[in-house]
Amino acid sequence: MSKKLLNLLLVVVMLAVLVPTALAAPPAQEEGQDYIVVADDWLSKLADKYLGNPYAYPAITHYTNQKHAEDDSYAKITDSNLIEVGWKIYIPSAAEAKAYLEAPTVKTVATGEDTIKIGGVGPLSAPGSVVGGIAMKFAMELAVKDINEAGGVLGKPVELIFADTEGLPERGAAIAERLITENKVVAITGEYHSAVGLAELEVCHEYGIPCLFSETWSDKITESGYPEVFRIAPASSMTSRAVVDWLAKVGVKRVQLIAETTDFGIGMAETQKKLLEGMGVEVLDTIFIEMGTEDFTAILTRIQAIDPPPDVVSAEAVTGETSYNLEQQMAELGIAPTEKTIGIANQVAVQPEFWESVPNGNYFVFTHVGLPPTLFNETTNKVADAYRAEFDTEPPSYALEAYDSLWILADAIERAGTTEPKALINALEDTDIVLAQGRYWFKYTSKNPLPTDGSVPAYMWHQWPDPAVLVLQYFEPNQPGMEAAVVWPEVYQTHGTPYIVPGTKP
């Protein structure tokens, strides 16, 4: 036997033993499977194990939730970072995962071939704020129905193509590109998460397609200064300002801020710190937390050790389900709200889900963007009625904004007489229309540029200047959000006081 032949034999022997084992389980499974969660599981690891890609975890979330809709033995995943032991989830096949991850859009309204196509974007899956996305999609569909019943635009029906951005910037950018290049939308509107909006606006700018953001608060959205970018939600600094003005009125001296490490959270914390310090209020170290954190014991223990306790602990710059976790633990540990310390919650405290997750949440203060019910007009009431019928709760501001955003675009297209992007942008700048949230207009436009002396913040570019930003406070457990006391601004105060001390009634 030659040396070469023996070498070959050796290789064959080793491969015969090793290779079948190494290839026994392919990285991406060919068939989907049910899976029962154990304590040490996390979705990206399961995606890595069964789909060969840790970033494919949104597909597990999506298909599990889809199964849940038909069979409640499957879990409903509202936050991909939070899965419970014993949950039955569905891990899709590699082909299913691929189909989902590459699918750009979900068509929700198909009204025929010759339509005016408008792209809607928002989160319908975790890690995005699913509650927000569902509300926005519902409101946009309602608006399309109303617009088409009123004769459509330029004699054609409007078609909404709504896509799930999942709260992921890279997905938002990919979706925006596909909406523009493949679906041929004339404009994009919606979006809930600032980080996703910032990714999307770059695509809109690249293609010159107008982008009307209805619920992204980061100052950076309109600070971009892009001609294509408009916003009807308040800039983060506008809401920060409301709380800071209120805190000044209440007379606080020392404030502890907690913020999430996102564009929104960092931006809000920085702005509030600057404004508060400008008013002589001491801001203790801002604590930054990751979205999805469940256990805040470590940071809350640090705050608990502060002596004397701060006048305010604010979780305003933490969003979604994460904010609920934080606020409940703040309350449970007796950090805030207390007689000595004001507790500020994120704006999602207005939702009924707040009380499910934060049963100890009485006396939390939170902001609310949007008109109080006393100032609802006919359109607001119409949208609110439809929203209540669907969700059995009051419409949040982002639902009203989403509804209005479709009408603002329809109005601009009609006035422009064309869907040509530059003409449409020009018409948007001239917007003057009363809708569910009041009169919309844009103060700083190409026709009225921002002053160059810096006297007006850059985020006011193509920014609706008049969103109503209220400061509210609960004073009874399980109180509906819109029945909480409006404590600021004074003009909207419902109980004649800027603050209700915990343990008392207004």
Partner: protein
Amino acid sequence: MNRLWIILLAFALLLAACGGEPGGTAPPATEPPSASVLPTPTPIPIIPTSTPLPPPPTPTPLPTNTPAPEGAEATPAPAVTDIMVEIPAGPFTMGTDSGEPNEAPAHEVDLPAFMIDKFEVTNADFATFVEATGYETYAEKQGITNWRAAYTEGKDSHPVVYVTFDDAVAYCTWVGKRLPTEAEWEKAARGPEGFLFPWGNEWDPSKANVRESGLRGTVAVGSYPPNGYGLCDMAGNVWEWVDSPYEAYPGSDYQDPKYSPDLRGLRGGGWFDDEAQVRATNRNAGDPTTTTHDDIGFRCAR
């Protein structure tokens, strides 16, 4: 030419790692397990290759008991692998202060002597059990992926997977044993030296079937060197059920929201796990009735 034969010999020795039981003579069922029946662990030879590959599965079946003659006893001794190691009585340190919060605090636990299987229960042994009793696993009853799907040709000596805690208890009961408690399992896994891994305290992914091995599946039990007690695969290959609820250790102020008296522990990490999961102190847990995965198995104790 001589060098090549040395390589072949080294490769053959590697196959016999973890004591060299595969291919050995089956001990009689009545023979008391003791250290003396365990072959001396064979040192791992150095394979002359620049890309070390993990040891392969053993090519031969594990020894089994000699079945008792028919009619000799009312309940014949199960003809399955029955190699156990005695873990001596005495205290050991359970948990660690430098791992995950649920592993703390490190605390002393004093246990009486007990016996524990040297190997994870294999497909062949589980098949014997099923054949003898007609047992149907939870996964089979549910019509979902079950142990038979994973028991493909050549996997007699691979650990059985897709078994729930309840399935594992059924098997152990049939062979006159039980599942180890979490403390027993950890004491056995840490070896007489109290190591974090079978081989010591430093992570070495070449010494167990783990994610970094890249095999993406089980290997035959006993494919890797044993720990100081002579136990194989106490790190990696499959997670192993233990008969203890998932609760905080005494003296711990950490409250894992997942703690529950209704869950049962899983230990040792599996073929897709990393250092943190494979460490002897790591704690995982699952629903005892419904959890069946392709990397969950068990071994019995007595």
